[in-house]
């Protein structure tokens, strides 16, 4: 008998000296998962004192024979239904492992709970009733283990007592399930005949299964390996947030793979910007030296101020992830409404999110049946392959190259509705990011501002069509130029004629139109010019994007001319056409303009002359440090 001898040194928590392995037990409903768990807890001496007696008493009081599964069915609701509703986590020990057991429900209705449980597992036990054999849920769970990336799978053939411990029946089931799993690229680590109710094969090889020479369940669990952090792969640090709690600007996130250290050059994807890691910040001691490896939640500072946002991925130049607007994924679908071609979704890849459209669906199938394939929609609890088009570029990897970053989840109405593996990434038309090394200007910012007598800025005029944006923009352009400045007009319609001629007026295209305007304007502002953007830009979210891109250079001006005044002006005849129904997607009469909540300035052109309005803008630009009021300011700036 094994004895636990208390060592003189203090006990360590689970896993500091013994590997901790998380396992999930899956399989068809009623094939005996809960019974196996109850038996395992008993055989490994893991039951809390009095628990078994308490449950036996409860069974007696309810007039039912005691079942091992009652141990897990601790909830009232479960006892009523006789099935396990949700994952529970139970801990016990084998000779050399601490096991965290995640029980997962077999009932098809609760597949989302099975996935929640199994996604946390290092290994799995797939349980099959010897009498019933492989069933649809057995196949479905096998398929999902593959999709969830669980590689270590032990098969348990339960209720051998009901087939008289027949070696032939065991071999029949063993062959069938092994072939099924191998077809998915999963090789079982063991196939074990047991009777969970009586104990055969769980911790002991009894005479009744004397023909079986492999490991018991406890021995098989003892051989599982904990998942290792992915330090050997290329660096992937998805950005969770940028913190400015004090004078540090800390980029925070968890290293999903690879490692990093201060002094290293990194590339920020998808933008492809290059920087050096200045320090690795921590608390209570900071900064920390040495390499930080996969699995650590870190915070770093960079040697230059770059626009970085949540969802960007930090990598090493040369091994950065691919930036894409199009990808292919193999997914499982959990939502009530089937996923169909053309559906609009929200896709999350780590902290990054993007709106997306399903472009194509292929190989949709119930993984329990694996026969009737179709290419129109993926039903609830089914799997399939989809092509997705993304409204924002995402940096990601195929899952074969990086299992941590090569996976995504899909949200519908704010709730996770599915998930899966990235099969391939369409790199799009952009050059590979490794080759992008932004060339820095030969001029210093202060050289430009000394000449123009202003700093670079993005002056963003938003408002209804015919509210007076372009008129104001032109007046401001003339005035700044007369004063010796360098204003540049970016009119929404003008850019649509060239740079943005590929874009229409869908919400997605409007967003992209705004993004491009903001990028061009920001580049001009960084080089000392005042970019004056006149664009309806009706969506608050799109303007927020523009503000994020231009950052501190952004000045938003709401041209708040009343709608009826705008319609009465109608210089381009758009309102008339829209009323006549010959112009669709026209912002003016649809009431879909979202007015700014915190613009730097608001101007109603029906109450001001153009000169007065331009005065107000000039005052705002002076007050907010864009225009220099006097030479003294210029000196201060240098």
């Amino acid at each position: 008998m094994n004895m636990i001898v208390t060592s003189p040194s203090p006990a360590t928590p689970n896993g500091t000296t013994r590997p901790q392995v998380r396992i999930v037990i899956v399989g068809h409903v009623d094939h005996g998962k809960s019974t196996l768990v109850g038996r395992l807890l008993h055989e490994t001496g893991s039951l809390p004192e009095g628990k078994l007696e308490m449950l036996k008493a409860v069974s007696a009081r309810r007039g039912m024979p005691f079942e091992w599964s009652f141990l897990l069915d601790a909830l009232q609701t479960e006892r009523d239904q006789g099935i396990t509703i949700d994952t529970t986590q139970i801990r016990f020990r084998t000779n050399s492992r601490d096991i965290v057991l995640i029980d997962a429900p077999g009932h098809a209705e609760f597949l989302r709970n099975m996935i929640t449980g199994a996604s946390q597992a290092d290994g799995a036990v797939l349980i099959i009733d010897a009498l019933e054999g492989v069933r649809d849920q057995t196949r479905r769970h096998g398929y999902l283990l593959h999709l969830l990336g669980v590689k270590q799978v032990a098969i348990v053939v339960n209720k051998m007592d009901r087939v008289d411990f027949s070696a032939d029946r065991f071999k029949e089931i063993s062959d069938e399930i092994t072939a099924h799993l191998q077809g998915l690229g999963v090789t079982p680590t063991a196939v074990i005949p047991i009777s969970a109710r009586d104990g055969d094969g769980v911790a002991a090889r009894t005479d009744r299964i004397g023909w079986y020479k492999g490991p018991t369940v406890v021995e098989a669990l003892d051989r599982l390996e904990p998942a290792r952090p992915l330090e050997a792969l290329a660096l992937r640090l998805p950005v969770q947030a940028i913190y400015k709690f004090d004078d540090r600007r800390i980029v925070a996130g968890r290293i999903e793979s690879g490692s990093l250290a201060a002094g290293e050059e990194i590339v920020i994807m998808p933008a492809g910007k290059i920087a050096k890691i200045k320090s690795v910040e921590s608390w209570p001691v900071t900064p920390v030296a040495g390499r930080q490896g996969a699995g650590r939640s870190v915070g770093i500072t960079l040697d230059r101020e770059l626009f970085i946002e949540r969802g960007d991925i930090i990598a090493h130049a040369g091994t950065s992830p691919r930036e894409t607007r199009r990808l292919r994924a193999r997914i499982f679908w959990l939502h009530d409404k089937p996923l169909a071609k053309g559906d609009q979704l929200l896709v999350r890849c780590g902290p990054k999110e993007s709106r997306a459209t399903v472009v194509a669906i292929e190989k949709a199938v119930d993984p329990g049946e694996l026969e009737s394939r179709e290419n129109k929609a993926i039903g609830r609890n089914h799997v399939g392959e989809i092509d997705i088009s993304l409204s924002n570029p995402i940096a990601t990897d195929p899952y074969t190259e990086n299992p941590r970053t090569g996976r995504l989840v899909i949200e519908v109405s704010g709730r996770i509705a599915g998930g899966g593996l990235v099969l391939s990434v369409d790199a799009g038309q952009r050059a590979v990011p490794v080759d992008i090394v932004p060339v820095e200007s030969a001029l210093r910012p202060d050289e430009r501002s000394a000449r123009y007598r202003h700093n670079g800025a993005v002056v963003w005029l938003t408002g209804l069509p015919a509210s007076g944006k372009s008129t104001l923009a032109k007046a401001l352009e003339r005035r700044l130029f007369t004063q010796g400045g360098s204003p540049i007009l970016l009119d929404g319609d003008t850019l649509r004629a060239g740079l943005n001629s590929d874009l229409g007026f869908s919400a997605q295209d409007r967003s992209e139109n705004i993004r491009r305007l903001a990028e061009v304007a920001t580049h001009l502002a960084r080089n000392g010019h005042i970019a004056i953007v006149a664009a309806v830009s009706p969506a608050r979210e799109d303007r927020a994007t523009a503000r994020r891109i231009a950052d501190t250079a952004f000045r938003e001006i709401y041209v708040a001319t009343p709608a009826e005044v705008c319609e009465s002006r109608d210089p381009k005849g758009h309102y008339a056409k829209a009323r006549a129904g010959t112009l669709t997607s026209f912002t003016g009469i649809l009431n879909d303009y979202e007015s700014p909540e915190a613009a730097e300035l608001s101007i109603d052109t029906s109450k001001r002359s153009i000169a007065e309005a331009a005065d107000e803008i000039e005052q705002m630009l002076k007050a907010s440090g864009v225009l220099f009021d006097e030479l003294a300011d210029l000196a201060a700036n240098i």
């Binding site: 636990i4 208390t6 203090p10 006990a11 360590t12 928590p13 689970n14 896993g15 500091t16 901790q20 809390p48 004192e49 601790a74 909830l75 009232q76 609701t77 509703i85 949700d86 994952t87 529970t88 986590q89 139970i90 801990r91 989302r112 709970n113 996935i115 929640t116 946390q120 969830l148 952090p229 330090e231 969770q240 947030a241 913190y243 709690f245 540090r248 996130g253 968890r254 490692s259 910040e281 921590s282 608390w283 209570p284 001691v285 900071t286 920390v288 040495g290 390499r291 490896g293 650590r296 939640s297 915070g299 999350r348 996976r407 989840v409 949200e411 704010g414 709730r415 996770i416 998930g419």
Partner: protein
């Protein structure tokens, strides 16, 4: 180990940074020894920090529920790690008014020392609580009511709570981001899927989320981490006259368990061998088979 004892309060107040300095040395030694691979506690810590940062990024107005116990003290420590020194949201103590005096002293001292934005919120009188609940559960349910009042007062869309899966069977079923209904209730039958550290963070208007950053920790993990990081504890957790508290709640519904463990090392040895559940001293867990679940469905932690 750093303790706030009655007779050593002055000692604890000696210098606001001394604890952290001592700790900092241990921590850097620990880092140097373990790079780049991570031990079990490192992994737990990194996961909790990830959860904290997700909650802060994805929700608008959050608060941490500070029960003053060992678990929520570890949570505050983890939050300070996640945000590089100071917790950037309030710590809320929903006060039943029936905690141990040592707990109030601890709150008042460390609320200041840790620079917490501390909100102490009262609970309604016992008469306002469901009279069909057994006595201890009814008493605990006061806290749920106090919590609802505080939610209404501040409009938080996320509350960070220090529950753990290993504590109790119903808690094992929790998600890391756990949606609550408009009445603060928990629908255990219709929990959304949660996998690969992707969380459901969009509560409907007026509802809120519970966020559980230490759901994956065990009681032993909490103690080992408390020791490693030198996090202060309330001395009631240590044995006096052959008894200690394993879990601290209200005075009238919490009992000590038999124990000789007078420091954290001895607690860890004790936990290695015990088969007594952690909440054995909590009266409400034993009243009826389903009292605890009824409480949790109604919004209890």
């Amino acid at each position: 180990m750093h303790l706030l004892k009655d007779d050593s309060a002055a000692d604890a107040l000696r210098g606001p940074t001394s604890v952290e300095q001592v700790h900092a040395r241990e921590y850097s030694a620990h880092l140097a020894a373990s790079q780049p691979s991570m031990d079990h506690l490192d992994q737990l810590e990194a996961q909790s920090i990830y959860i904290f940062r997700e909650a802060f990024a994805r929700l608008k107005k959050i608060a941490l529920l500070w029960s003053l116990g060992k678990d929520s003290n570890v949570m505050i420590w983890l939050a300070r790690k996640a945000f590089f020194g100071r917790m950037p949201f309030p710590a809320m103590h929903v006060d039943t008014g029936k905690k141990f005096p040592e707990m109030y002293r601890f709150r008042d001292h460390y609320g200041k020392e840790w620079d917490l934005d501390l909100r102490v919120e009262p609970c309604p009188p016992i008469d306002a609580v469901d009279p069909t609940l057994p006595p201890a559960a009814r008493s605990a349910a006061r806290k749920t009511e106090g919590l609802k009042m505080a939610l209404a007062k501040y409009g938080f869309d996320g509350l960070i709570a220090g529950i753990r899966r290993d504590e109790e069977a119903t808690r094992a079923k929790e998600r890391v981001f756990s949606p609550r209904g408009l009445e603060g209730n928990w629908d255990v039958r219709d929990q959304p899927p949660e996998f690969w550290d992707h969380f459901n963070a969009s509560p409907p208007q007026g509802a809120h989320l519970r966020i559980h950053p230490i759901l994956h920790w065990t009681e032993a993990d909490i103690w080992a981490y408390t020791k490693r990081e030198n996090i202060p504890i309330i001395p009631l957790y240590l044995s006096q006259n052959g008894k200690r508290y394993r879990s601290l709640g209200d005075q009238d519904i919490t009992n000590p368990v038999a124990s000789t463990a007078s420091n954290i090392d001895e607690i860890l040895v004790e936990l290695e061998q015990t088969k007594v559940p952690e909440r054995a001293g909590r009266a409400l867990d034993h009243e009826t088979e389903d009292a605890f679940e009824r409480l949790r469905v109604a919004g209890y932690l």
